[in-house]
Amino acid sequence: MWSQRVYQQCTYCVMDTTDPEIVFDEKGQCHHCRSYQQKVHKLTYQGKASDHDFKLLTEQVKIDGKTASYDCVIGVSGGVDSSYTCYLAKRLGLRPLAVHMDNGWNSREAVKNIKTICNSLEIDYVSHVLNWEEFKDLQLAFLKASIVEMEIPTDVAIQYALHKVAAENGVKYILSGGNMAGEAILPRTWFYYPKDSKLLKSIHRKYGTKKISTYPTFDYLDEIYYKFIKGIRILYPLNYVPYSKPDAMKTLEEKLGWVKYGGVHHESMFTRIVLSYLQPTKFQVDYRKCTLSAQICNGIISRKEALAQLENLSYDPDKIQEEKAYVAKKFGLSLAEFEKILSLPPKSYRDYPNNEKLLDFLYSTYRRFWGDERSYHNAGYDSSS
């Protein structure tokens, strides 16, 4: 699929030519960490200036939500970022409503942590449960489409659930756990807009077998509706505090009895296998490189430590067969059938009808006129749940 390139890894962070668009300077430093140092760094915690901005923002959230039962909604997955966002919100005196999108892949740790967070912080909780039979068909269609963006159906449903619950409860703010400290580095080639409903429909039309009647849509029109008609804003509180995942985990464990996962986004059994196995083995897309690189830029870990972590396989070879067997069974497939789908040659979203040109235009225009850089977050990527 990609043009062949000689392998090269950045001398400052750990990004490498598995991002086919990576550019290195004469010192061997890549454009990801250079742009982090030049631009993105300013969007993370900046001491007193961030404290001040955050205080104003928090006050605004409180004022705007005075008459409603809640002043913000937070998407919860049981993961560190969203759990810490809840903790932070309560500490600041906000009145959040927790929203969980259940796509049928919750792990024990996910449900335990959500329960712990909601009970110990006294946060009300609502859920949006996707119809599994439909969602299964959609997820399978994406696996058969053989593109790296296997999580688009999940990302869309999360956005829908958050906005719907916010609108229903008259809430103007969605607090996202998305943060520059851990997620600022993400190659364009590894992640396409989840809000492209044309792509979703064309993939389902080609590979789906069931009619979709309850699965929600969330595309740019919905985004415009919620943003401009309903006046709902997404805030990224973790960008206003000194945020490090390891420290946040420690705080949550000590103060709330939260449980640690094996890795990033392991609260969903599907996300776990996608991130740790499917994307790295099939597409040479290993998200650990992004997280580690961002952490290097942030001074959370050294490059040496990061390289040592990357020496390990992204998945546990002893458990992967068992995990695959579970995923196959949940999709109603035999292991052989599932393996066959996984071994289809990799494709790109560009192989399917999509709205890329329109979305590129819309998002770049939006950013030019309304772009608050701090709220700009990886071209629509949002890990609020």
């Binding site: 927790a98 969980h100 919750n106 335990k112 329960k115």
Partner: protein, 253 residues
């Protein structure tokens, strides 16, 4: 030390998990296999699955489903829904279930319980008794997912079932189902005192305290619940959960 078993009772409608309030207002809860996986990882004592459409649609609970649960669950589980023949029982047991749950057919044809327990042993046969007040008659046993009343009072029916060789009774209050306001303690006490086989309290549990009441005041040998294990908080967001072992032990002390 003895403690009552704590059992999630899950309702199936087709391939969906649902939860009712007083046997009505079914709400979609999610994929049953994911729920089994979570309950398994959280080490639930036991599970009960009831297919609430099977009798109405004149079929038995799906054997494929029973197998799928068996593959995922390390704990014993019971399955009910439309069971009317010894062959049904045999198939469900060989598909991996520990016990079968019989409701409507036990009311229509109590002799079946005798046949079934003779063939498969009492410990395999659980009878689910759905209780609700019938107009002018007081509490009666209902069949067809609470749609039709029968002439049996709970105590008469419980004694007959014990007599026929049922190994266990699930005593379910239709009125309290899904309310999360507590069990029907007087009913549980009446039945537990009338029979010597285990009685599983069901219908109304919303807190750990309720489990305790069923045990200390109602003398139930096990406690079952639906909503308690699938909802979180006062807004009833769906979240499969099961208390930690220590919480359960503390609860019954």
């Amino acid at each position: 030390m003895f403690r009552p078993r704590v059992i999630p009772v899950l309702l199936l409608k087709g391939q969906s998990l649902v939860k009712t309030i007083s046997f009505k207002n079914e709400r979609y809860i999610g994929d049953p296999i994911n729920a089994v996986k979570i309950f398994n990882d959280l080490e639930a004592d036991e599970l009960v699955f009831l297919d609430i459409l099977a009798t109405k649609e004149r079929r038995t609970v799906s054997l494929q489903f029973v197998q799928d649960v068996g593959a995922e669950a390390n704990m014993p589980f019971a399955v009910g829904g439309g069971i009317r023949t010894l062959e049904d029982v045999r198939k469900i047991i060989s598909a991996g279930a520990e016990k079968v749950v019989i409701n409507s057919f036990a009311v229509e044809f109590p002799e079946f319980i005798q046949q079934a327990s003779r063939n498969f042993g009492s410990s395999t046969i659980t009878v689910c008794m759905d209780v609700k007040n019938a107009l002018f008659k007081g509490p009666r046993i209902w069949k067809f997912s609470g749609n039709r009343s029968s002439r049996y009072s709970p105590i008469d029916f419980a004694r007959i079932m014990e007599d026929k060789g049922a190994g266990e009774l699930i005593l379910q209050s239709i009125t309290n189902d899904g309310q999360m306001q507590g069990y029907d303690i007087p009913l549980i006490k009446e039945i537990s005192e009338a029979v010597s086989i285990p009685v599983v309290a069901l219908g109304g549990a919303g807190t750990l305290e309720h489990f305790k009441h069923a045990y200390t005041e109602g003398f139930a040998s096990a406690v079952g619940a639906g909503s308690f294990f699938v909802y979180q908080g006062s807004k009833r967001g769906v979240l499969i959960n099961y208390p930690q072992r220590s919480e359960i032990i503390n609860c019954f002390q």
